[in-house]
Amino acid sequence: MTISPEMLAAYADGELDQLSAARVERALGDDPDLARQLEALLALKDKLNAHFAPILDQPVPEQITAPIADAAKVVDLSAVRAARQRWFERPALRYGGGAIAAALALVLVLVMTVNRTGDGAPGMAGEELARALDSQRSGVVGPGGTKVLLSFRDHGGALCRGYAEKAGSGIACREDSGWHIRTHGANASAEQGAYRQAGSADAAVMAAAQDMAGGPALDADEEAKAIAAGWKR
C-alpha cells in the first residue's frame, strides 16, 4: 500500500495510532525511498531544534522579565495598602507616627494570637508599668524602657492602653483600682536578649487593640487630657 506524505509526516510527529504506525513501519521496510523521506523529515526536525536550542539557554532579557517583576510589585503594594487601610481608616490612629505605621505595615496580626495565650496571667500592672501607663504619651519610650503604643476605649468605655516593655507586651485598662492587664504576652526577642522583634510585638498589640476597641484610638489631645485627668472615665 502507499503511504501518503501526510501520513508519513504524522508518523514522524508521533501523531499516528498504533495500527497506522505499524502500517507505516511495514511500508518503510519495503520502500527505501519512503525510508529516505522519513530520514529527511527527522533530520529537518533535528536541525530546527538544534538551531533554536541556544535560545533556551540564554538569559531572558530584562525587557521581558521587567513587566512580571512590576506586576508582582503592584500586587505586593496593594496587599500592604489594604492591610494598612484597615488601621488608617481610623483617622485618630494616625497620630501614632512612623514607628506604629511601620509596625502595622510589616506584620499585622502575627504574634498576638500566640501572645494572648502566653504566660502572663492577667492581673494588676506592676508599679513601673503603671507609672508609664499613667504618665507617658503614646509612641514615647519611657525611662524604664516601656513604650506605650496607643490609647483607646474598649467596648465597655474603659480607657485602655497598649504597651511594650522589655519583658513583653500587652494591653492594660484603667479601672478604679488601677491598671488591669487584659492581655499580655512574653516578648520572644526579649528572652533572646534582643529588641529586634519589637516591631512585630507592637503590631500584635495593635491587632488585639483593634478587637477590643469600641471606637478609634485617642488622638494626642484626647490622650493628653486623659493623662491630666488621671485616666478617670
Binding site: L44, K47, L48
Partner: protein, 154 residues
C-alpha cells in the same frame, strides 16, 4: 509564567524577522498576558494560552506593519536592544533562518509549534485557532518548502 519565558522567546525568535523584534514580541506578549490574566481560565494550560497571545500579536503587528509600511520594532526601544538585535540578526541569519523566512507566516507558525515547540496537532490547531486539517496541510507545505530550501543538507 517566568518558567515559560525561554520557550516563548524561542517561538518569538522563530516568528519574528530578527532578534530585536522577537524580544519586543515577547515583551508585548508578557504585558498582554498580565493585563488580561483574568481571562485565563484556571485549569487550562498557561503555555497554550500565552502562545496564542503571542501569535495573535504577531499576526496583528505584521498586518498593521505592512499596512502602514513601518517597522515592527519600536524606535523608542533602548539603544542596547537595537544594537544587540542588529548584531544577532547578522550573526544568526543562518540557512535555517533564511529558509524559515521564505515561508508564509501561517506555515511558519505551524512548523514551529509542532516541530520545535513539540505541540500535538490538536494543541497547535487550538493555539492558532484553525481546524486540525488546516494545520496539517500548512504543516505539510511548510515542511516541504523547508526541505527544498535546506535540500540535502537537511
Amino acid at each position: 509564567m517566568t518558567a515559560l519565558l525561554p520557550r516563548l522567546r524561542r517561538f518569538a525568535h522563530g516568528l519574528a524577522r530578527n532578534a530585536a523584534d522577537a524580544d519586543d514580541l515577547c515583551q508585548m506578549t508578557v504585558e498582554r498576558a498580565l493585563s488580561s490574566r483574568q481571562q485565563w481560565q484556571e485549569g487550562t494550560r498557561l503555555d497554550s494560552w500565552m502562545y496564542r497571545i503571542m501569535r495573535n500579536i504577531f499576526i496583528d503587528e505584521t498586518r498593521s506593519a505592512s499596512r502602514r509600511a513601518r517597522t515592527f520594532a519600536d524606535p523608542d526601544d533602548g539603544l542596547e536592544v537595537g544594537v544587540q538585535g542588529a548584531q544577532e540578526a547578522t550573526v544568526e541569519l543562518s540557512m535555517v533562518d533564511r529558509a524559515l523566512a521564505t515561508l508564509p507566516d501561517e506555515q511558519r507558525e505551524a512548523v514551529l509549534l509542532v516541530m520545535v515547540e513539540g505541540y500535538k496537532y490538536v494543541e497547535a490547531a487550538e493555539i492558532i485557532g484553525c481546524p486540525i486539517g488546516t494545520l496539517t496541510s500548512r504543516l505539510l507545505r511548510g515542511r516541504e518548502a523547508l526541505l527544498q530550501h535546506l535540500g540535502e543538507a537537511a
